[in-house]
Each structure stands twice: as structure tokens, then as C-alpha cells.
């Protein structure tokens, strides 16, 4: 913009004279103490500085998970989650487990950096800490609490929107068997059946894939691996149960 041309004789032309002072202000800004949160300008400066620092540092690629590293982490179930939008992978531990109506359970998985995924019988029902989260999901419970989605029916995702509210997103879903598949997860082989769920709604189509232990085994089995849609902001998540 040739803004200076119009306001040539005006104040904007003198702004460069303020630059040294502005630099000093930026250098000094952001000191505070006590219980109160810092002033708006301090928070802005801090955010800009940390953003610049993060960009300078770059995003390190996470070390690839191996069975040996996994065993070193200790006992307990671990879930691997990859967000397709960003390519970021995280390893989650069980944060809480709740018995559910119909004999199933809701499991809350948590990352070290405070992101949680809530799964009902292996089906994603809520996320937290990602931004634009799925706050809750209305869904048909699968019969007799077996893992995986119901054969069909309506599902409503309640998506956190930018005006501090929720936007319901109704999807009509139907699941179909693709067939048996054997997965290899970090050197272990799991026989599964592949279930594909197709949901329509909100002007789009969502495809969720589930690989469910088959035969179920002594514990009733689990959704061993899945690719599920976490709403329009979170996008698709790829989940793998690494250990039981």
C-alpha cells in the first residue's frame, strides 16, 4: 500500500522515528510478579516471543517406538495416537476407566502433555486439549458391550466452536464387515476383523475403520486398531493398542 504517499505530511511518516523506542519497549516488556496475571501487552509479547522461539527450535521428529522401548516404559496398556492433520504421534496411558451402561466401559487415555481421548468400547466419544474438541458424542451403544460401533444408527458429535458453545453435528452411520485381517503391531501379530463405518451428515462423508480382536479372546477383546474422525477441527485420528 502506498499509504505514505497520501499521508506523506502526516504522522505515519514519523512512525519510523519511534522504532528505537519501540525496540526498547519490546526488550523490557514482560516483567511481572505476584498472583495477578500479567497485563494484556505483557501476555501478547510473551506469546510472540515463545512463538518465535518455538519456530526457531523447530519441531523435532519423535523417536520411533519399538517393542523394547515399550517394555521399558513399564506395565500397563498404552495407546498410540496419530493426528493425520499434523502428523503428530503421541503415546497415551489410561487416565480413568468407567463402567458403562450395557456392560461396556469408557476409557480415558491421556498424553504427557495433557491431551485426552475418551473411547466407549473403542469408539471415540470425546477429546480434550486439542482445540476444537469433540465435547461429547450421542451414539447407539453396541449390543452387550462388545467392542466397536453399533451396526448402524444416528451419531451426534457435539463440537466445541469458537463462540464458547457447542455445535451438534449429526451423522447417520452404518457399519459393514470388510473381513478378517492380521495386524502386525511392533512385532506382535493380532488376528482381527476389519469393520468399516460410513457416516453421512453435515454436508460430508466420514469413514471410520476398526480392527477388532477376532476371536475376542479371554478378556472379551478390544478394538486393536482404528482410524476415526474426531470432528471437523481435530480431523482423523489413527489409534493402535500397543499393549493390553
Amino acid at each position: 500500500m502506498r499509504r505514505g504517499a497520501v499521508l506523506g505530511e502526516s504522522g505515519l511518516a514519523r512512525i519510523p522515528a519511534l522504532m528505537p523506542a519501540l525496540g526498547l519497549v519490546l526488550a523490557l516488556a514482560g516483567c511481572s510478579g505476584g498472583n495477578d496475571r500479567p497485563a494484556a501487552n505483557v501476555q501478547l509479547m510473551a506469546a510472540v516471543r515463545s512463538g518465535v522461539a518455538a519456530r526457531a527450535a523447530g519441531r523435532g521428529a519423535p523417536e520411533a517406538m519399538t517393542r523394547a522401548r515399550l517394555d521399558a516404559l513399564g506395565p500397563g496398556p498404552f495407546l498410540e495416537a496419530t493426528r493425520e492433520k499434523t502428523g503428530q504421534t503421541a503415546y497415551l496411558f489410561v487416565n480413568a476407566e468407567r463402567p458403562d451402561r450395557g456392560g461396556g466401559a469408557v476409557t480415558v487415555w491421556r498424553t504427557e502433555d495433557a491431551v485426552t481421548l475418551a473411547l466407549r468400547g473403542g469408539v471415540l466419544i470425546a477429546t480434550r486439549g486439542l482445540g476444537g474438541d469433540v465435547l461429547s458424542t450421542e451414539m447407539q451403544p453396541p449390543p452387550s458391550g462388545r467392542p466397536g460401533p453399533a451396526a448402524g444408527g444416528q451419531r451426534v458429535q457435539h463440537i466445541r466452536d469458537s463462540d464458547d458453545g457447542v455445535v451438534p453435528l449429526a451423522l447417520a452411520c452404518a457399519a459393514a464387515e470388510i473381513g478378517p485381517e492380521t495386524l502386525d503391531i511392533l512385532g506382535r501379530r493380532y488376528p482381527t476383523r476389519h469393520l468399516r463405518e460410513r457416516c453421512e451428515g453435515g454436508g460430508g462423508i466420514v469413514i471410520n475403520d476398526y480392527w477388532i480382536d477376532s476371536p475376542p479372546g479371554p478378556g472379551g477383546g478390544a478394538v486393536r486398531q482404528s482410524r476415526q474422525w474426531g470432528g471437523p477441527y481435530v480431523g482423523y485420528l489413527r489409534l493402535r493398542r500397543l499393549t493390553d
Binding site: L26, N35, A47, R120, G129, L135, S162, D164, G203, I205
Partner: protein
């Protein structure tokens, strides 16, 4: 004192236009925030897609890119040189999405127009414009600067057959150089795909009739007699009813073709003859009524355009469009700990026992545990009252712009720390030690509803909101909270707008703020300011015939080291639904004295009533401890009413700083996420001639929460009040810590709107 969003005075705040244009436009293009970078870059690389409400456009786009539903809003209408939806110099019949907040900068032929617009309601928008015309050489200025207001009303929504029709009033209250009225209609058509992407494009046909400036070229007739001429000697500011839709009327029209979601081509026929600029004066030469333009969507929020205007001039625009309902960075809050579920009462008599309540140290122990759990969450525990079945927790929310979220986090902490027999949770958010409201939840509901399909609505249905009762003598205050000290050193930017010779001046420097809270409700606070550079001090001296209650700003700006304020305040609850405040000291840059306020606001009421009385003396220009001779008793009776889609109307009747008596009318659109945009005007017994330029006091104000563009939680916001001109009539005192903003934030309307966040 809490960060009262509505208390922004004219003096404080950031240089609005400059800050917004640079900061917000830059964010999507060059993400600076570590946490938001993923989303932002995804947004800027993704083609803006239609939502389900959009026709075939969206679905076909989805077939190629991503099939999943998208909440990305469709591309909004592009803006013209006046910052309104339109072609180049002509408006269109289009309407911006509800809440859209736009900044348009346009330049051609020595004319710069800078316009801020707000789509206040789905069918009403308002704009404020500042413009400069170089070499006009009229009315005693070589470069002529002016301010103007527009309003647009959608008369008809676009349907399959009918176009969108809009009625517009341009520059309806200024001195009138841009004054025009129009009715414009625009119809959208889908065009076949073009280029690599092969997505369908859009063609928009616009036709309209203009009066005033827009009826000055090739008019086809005249309506309602002759139009009174533009009178530059007037003080302006009055609604120009006598001009509207009078005089010659001329047709205009044009075509906009958007072959894809990035590019746009424009062609228009202009009905503006530019009489003043090209005949009375010689700003540019108008050779043709046809204008041509090409536009490019640089980021999802920024559109750039280049034009060939009137057969002689090149022009440029930058259009920045924000929507409060669409953040540049999705807010990320660290996930809460899941609600701790108690074992069943049957078979667990020890866990469910109530003997613990008999131990005298139980409240101290439990409040210590709660405090430790909530410290990481940015919530300070002020007190706990607990018995075998009920607990009341009072909290100070430092971090979350939504009190609902702080209440949710407090409830989770209570479910974790309190013994199983405690079933009823009362949570009371405080502001400056003053209890704002009380949310009452059943613990069983928390346990049962956390993974409910519609958890937010279900929890809202079983949560009670009521007036916070006085603090029980049985409550245990958290030890070590008082006295409390805080300080901060922060940069400040103090702009000064619209001096005809230098339209934008700026001071920058450092603010050192110290706050001491000796006991709940009490505050002692001071702000020292050191200017490092700036030119506000070179402004115009006052020529006001009224007492110089606000127009001596330049005299105050002569001093580099100043004390902006130093005061002590107490706020408390005088009774049910009542809130009180008393403030004594150096209240603001220009006044010192005593201020008292009383507010009546039931928790679930849309109506609030307040009364404020102040006795103040003007401070010496050096802003140290001395006072000048001028003193005044000023005060108002206020009514606030919330209605419709987040509108707050406010009327204040009373005596103003210059001793004038009158009333201020204000209306603000407040979004659940904390955005607010509004306008106000004041009429007092000061005549338009005594008042001077502008005739009466008026302005616009906006406030944007930091959370909205940082993507992390904060209770701070940036914003400002912009007056076309600051005079001495209808001027009000800026008292820190006014009550309504603090109180409304934690009342039913605000909490229920954000209640989904209680689960976050």
C-alpha cells in the same frame, strides 16, 4: 481489580486500527504461536470450503479435497473502496455474515479510505470511516480529512429467484462529503470450473439506484425535490434526514466473477461523477464511468485488490475480515482430570461415613488439598465451608476468560478431594473479593453425566444458579492469601486520532503497575508511566468554550514521567442482588476524587440498574499530586438490558464532567467468547454550537479477548474506544473497576452461553 472489559476509556488501549490490521492479518499468514501453528497453517493452505448450507459449491469441492464435513465458513463477499460489500466504488446488495468485523483500506487518485465495519445483526451493519483526500484544497485544508458513518439494512435475502437487496445510508451523520443513499441488488450464479482445480466459480451480478454522490452521474430523474447542498461549515454530526433519498437518482451496476476461491475479477459502471474532486477541485481526472479490478485472497482473512479506476487512476485495496465466531487459532486448554467417581454407597460404609466432619481440622486439610489441586489450573481457592453433606467453595479465576470453565475445574477438584458423603457443591466465583453468583451442582450428576451424549445441556439442566449468600462465619478462609502483592512492567501504546493536520499520533513507553490487596474486597493500586517516544504532545490546543474537561489532553501529554492513577477501592455486597464499590484517590489521568457505585443485578435477570456518584477535581497537567481549581459533582443513574442475540443496551442519565446534564445511549453486541463491539452517543443540554465540531459526543468501542487470537487461556482483552472527535460536552469520568462488567461475566446469561466449557 478485575479486568473489566467494559471499562476501556478513551485514553487507554492499543492503537486500534494499526494493531488489528497488522497483528490479526498477520496471524493466519505467518503463525507465530507454537500451539496454533498447526491449525493456522492448515487453514491458510486449505482452500476455503463451503458449509453444508452452501449449495453445490461445497459438495463438489469436497469430492476433490476432503470428504469430511467442514466448519470452514464460505468466502464472504468482497469489499469496495468504502469498506462495504460491493464492487469498487459501488456497493452491492450482499450482506456479510453475522458478526463479521472488517477493516478495509482503499486508495486511488489521491484518496485514502480506511473503514471499519461490523455486521451487528444478520440484517444490519454499521461502518465508521476515516478518509483523506490529497490536494482537495478546499475548506482551508490542502489534504482534507473527514470521518463518516454508514448503515446498511438487508431488505431481502437471496433466494433461488430473487437477488439479495440492501438499502444503504452512506456518510449519514458527518459533514457529508461522502453522503449517498442506495438500494442495491445482487444475484449469485454458479459458473463452470476454470483452470486446474476445475471447481465451480461464482458470478455476481449487481444493479442499483443511487442518490446523493451515487446519483451524480447520468441521473435518470429526481425524487422528493432538490437535495440540500453539502455544507462544509456546519459542525456536522447531525443525522441528515433532510437529504436522504432526495435529488437526482442514477443507476449503477457491475459484475464480479470469482473463477475459484482465490481470484476475483470486477467490472463496474459508476454513477459517481466526483463533482467536488474533479470539477470544484483537481484531485484526479475522471475520464470514464467504467472501473476494472482484480482481487486475490491472500489468506483466509485477507484479500488484496488492484484496480484501474475512471480511465485514469490505479487503485489498491486491502480487505481484512474477521469473525468473532471463527478464531484464527483454536483455543487449546490442557485436558482436565476425569471426574473421580465414588464407589457405591452400599458395601462401602467406611468411605461414605460422615465421622470425618467431626474433626475440627477437616476444613483446613480439605481446603489445602483443593488449593493444591487447583493451583495448577489457574484457580485460587479463597475459602471453603464444608459439612458432612454440603460444601461451598469460593474461587478467584485468574486464567480462564470463561467463569464456566473455572467452575467446572473447581467441581472436578471437589469431586477428587472431598469425602464421599459431600453431595452438594456450591461454587462461588469472586471478583476483587466480591462474590458474583453461586453455581450449585450435585456430585452424582457430575459423575453420571461426564460421558453423557449431550453432556453440556444435561449439566446445565441440573445446575442451579443463584445469588451468592454472605460468607458463612463457619467458612475457612485460605490462609496466606492476604495481603497480596502484584506488580507488572508493561509497554503501553497511547494513540491520538483525527487531528486534521496529523491524523494519527502515538506515544509509546512503559507502565509500572503495583497492586496491593490488604484484605478481601480491598485494593490499593497505582500506575506510573514513563514515555519513551511519541508525538501526542504536538497536538492542537483546545478552543473549547466549555470548561476544558477533556480537550486539554495535549497539555497533559507534555510530561514524560507521570502517575496515571493511585487509588484505594473497596467493593462488597451490601445486600441480596446488590453490589457496591467505593473508590478514592487519583482515579485517572485527569481527575482525582471520590467515586461510589451501587448496582442491582439479580443473577438471572436481563435487567440491571445502577447509580454512580462522584466528586472529582481536575488534576494538574504534570500528573503528579497537585490538583487544579476545577471541581465537579458528576454521576449517573444507569439501566442495562440484555436481549436478542447478545445485545446489551445501556442508558445513563445524569450530570457530566462539564456540569452538563443529559443522557448516554449505548448498544453493544457481546459474544459468548468475550468479543464485544458497540457504539454510543450522548446528548446533553450543551448546544451543538457550544459543543463544537461533531455537535454531540459519540463513538464506537470494541474489545477482543486475547484468548481469541492467541489460542491459550487469558482473561485479558485488547480494545479501544474511538471517538470521531473528543470534546468537552457529554464527557464522563473513567473510574477503574466499574461493576457491571465484572458482575455480568458470572451471571446466568453469560454462564449458560458458555456452559459447554464447564466440561472442558
Amino acid at each position: 481489580m478485575s479486568h473489566c472489559k467494559r471499562s476501556t476509556g478513551a485514553a487507554t488501549g492499543l492503537p486500534a486500527g494499526a494493531l488489528l490490521a497488522v497483528l490479526l492479518a498477520a496471524f493466519p499468514a505467518a503463525p507465530l504461536m507454537a500451539q496454533s501453528s498447526a491449525q493456522s497453517s492448515a487453514q491458510s493452505s486449505a482452500q476455503p470450503q463451503g458449509r453444508d448450507s452452501e449449495p453445490a459449491f461445497a459438495r463438489q469441492a469436497g469430492a476433490i479435497a476432503d470428504l469430511a464435513p467442514s466448519f470452514t465458513p464460505p468466502l464472504p463477499p468482497s469489499l469496495n473502496f468504502y469498506g462495504s460489500p460491493g464492487l469498487m466504488d459501488m456497493p452491492s446488495g450482499e450482506t456479510l455474515p453475522d458478526g463479521q468485523f472488517t477493516t478495509g483500506i482503499g486508495y486511488f487518485g489521491g484518496q485514502l479510505r480506511y473503514t471499519m465495519s461490523f455486521q451487528a445483526l444478520p440484517w444490519v451493519s454499521a461502518s465508521f470511516r476515516y478518509n483523506g483526500i490529497r490536494d482537495l484544497n478546499l475548506y482551508g485544508f490542502s489534504t482534507y480529512y473527514d470521518r463518516s458513518f454508514d448503515a446498511r439494512f438487508r431488505l431481502h435475502r437471496e433466494t433461488r429467484r430473487w437477488p439479495e437487496i440492501t438499502l444503504g445510508l452512506q456518510d449519514f451523520a458527518g459533514t457529508g462529503i461522502y453522503s449517498a443513499e442506495y438500494i442495491a441488488a445482487t444475484k449469485n450464479f454458479v459458473t463452470p470450473g476454470w483452470g486446474r482445480a476445475a471447481l465451480p466459480g461464482r458470478l455476481k451480478l449487481t444493479a442499483g439506484l443511487g442518490w446523493g454522490r451515487l446519483g451524480s452521474y447520468n441521473s435518470i430523474g429526481s425524487t422528493f425535490g432538490a437535495r440540500p447542498p453539502y455544507d462544509p461549515s456546519g459542525t456536522g454530526g447531525q443525522l441528515a434526514f433532510d437529504q436522504w433519498f432526495r435529488g437526482p437518482v442514477a443507476p449503477f451496476g457491475g459484475i464480479e466473477w470469482q473463477p475459484d476461491d482465490r481470484w476475483g475479477l470486477k467490472l463496474e459502471y459508476s454513477s459517481d461523477a466526483y463533482v467536488t474532486e474533479t470539477r470544484t477541485s483537481n484531485v484526479f481526472e475522471r475520464r470514464s464511468p467504467f472501473n476494472f479490478g482484480i482481487e486475490y485472497q491472500a489468506t483466509p482473512r485477507t484479500r488484496l485488490g488492484a484496480y484501474y479506476m475512471y480511465g485514469s487512476e490505479f487503485g489498491l485495496t486491502a480487505q481484512i475480515q474477521l469473525n468473532p465466531k471463527n478464531t484464527p487459532a483454536k483455543l487449546r486448554v490442557p485436558a482436565p482430570q476425569p471426574v473421580h467417581v465414588r464407589p457405591p454407597a452400599a458395601g462401602n460404609p467406611v468411605v461414605w461415613g460422615t465421622e470425618w466432619a467431626d474433626y475440627p481440622d477437616a476444613p483446613v486439610r480439605l481446603s489445602g488439598q483443593l488449593s493444591a489441586l487447583l493451583a495448577d489450573e489457574g484457580v485460587v481457592v479463597e475459602s471453603l465451608r464444608v459439612d458432612a453433606h454440603t460444601a461451598e467453595l469460593r474461587i478467584r479465576n485468574l486464567q480462564y476468560h470463561s467463569h464456566a470453565l473455572a467452575i467446572g475445574r473447581a467441581a472436578r477438584a471437589m469431586a477428587r478431594a472431598l469425602p464421599a458423603s459431600v453431595e452438594t457443591f456450591h461454587i462461588v466465583p469472586l471478583s476483587g473479593g466480591m462474590a458474583l453468583s453461586r453455581a450449585t451442582l450435585r456430585r452424582s450428576d457430575l459423575e453420571a453425566l461426564e460421558f453423557d451424549g449431550d453432556a453440556a445441556a444435561a449439566l446445565l439442566a441440573v445446575t442451579g444458579f443463584s445469588d451468592a449468600p454472605p460468607l458463612s462465619p463457619a467458612a475457612t478462609p485460605m490462609p496466606g492469601l492476604y495481603p497480596d502483592k502484584s506488580w507488572s512492567l508493561a509497554p503501553y501504546f497511547q494513540p491520538s486520532y483525527f487531528d486534521p493536520s496529523v491524523p494519527f499520533r502515538l506515544d509509546v513507553g512503559l507502565d509500572l503497575r503495583g497492586t496491593w490487596r490488604p484484605a478481601p474486597g480491598w485494593i490499593v493500586s497505582g500506575l506510573l508511566r514513563q514515555r519513551l517516544a511519541g508525538n501526542v504532545k504536538d497536538g492542537r490546543a483546545s478552543t473549547s468554550v466549555l470548561p476544558h474537561v477533556r480537550t486539554d489532553a495535549v497539555k497533559y501529554a507534555q510530561y514524560g514521567t507521570t502517575m496515571q492513577n493511585l487509588f484505594t477501592a473497596y467493593q462488597w455486597r451490601p445486600g441480596r442482588d446488590l453490589y457496591g464499590r467505593v473508590t478514592l484517590g487519583y482515579l485517572e489521568q485527569m481527575y482525582a476524587g471520590l467515586s461510589g457505585e451501587l448496582l442491582w443485578k439479580p443473577v438471572s435477570s436481563r435487567l440491571a440498574l445502577g447509580v454512580e456518584a462522584n466528586y472529582v477535581r481536575q488534576r494538574d497537567y504534570d500528573q503528579r499530586l497537585d490538583l487544579l481549581d476545577y471541581s465537579v459533582v458528576t454521576g449517573h443513574v444507569s439501566a442495562y438490558y440484555e436481549f436478542g442475540p447478545g445485545l446489551i443496551a445501556q442508558v445513563d442519565v445524569g450530570r457530566y464532567l462539564a456540569g452538563d446534564v443529559g443522557a448516554t445511549f449505548a448498544i453493544d453486541r457481546v459474544f459468548d467468547n468475550g468479543w464485544s463491539v458497540g457504539g454510543f452517543f450522548t446528548k446533553t443540554d450543551v448546544s451543538a454550537a457550544e459543543f463544537g465540531e461533531g455537535s454531540f459526543d459519540k463513538g464506537i468501542r470494541f474489545s477482543i479477548p486475547l484468548t481469541w487470537f492467541l489460542g491459550t487461556e487469558s482473561r485479558q482483552s485488547v480494545g479501544t474506544t474511538i471517538r470521531p472527535i473528543t470534546r468537552d460536552g457529554g464527557a464522563r469520568l473513567n473510574v477503574p473497576g466499574r461493576l457491571y462488567g465484572q458482575v455480568r461475566d458470572a451471571h446466568y446469561k453469560a454462564l449458560s452461553g458458555q456452559w459447554a466449557r464447564a466440561w472442558e
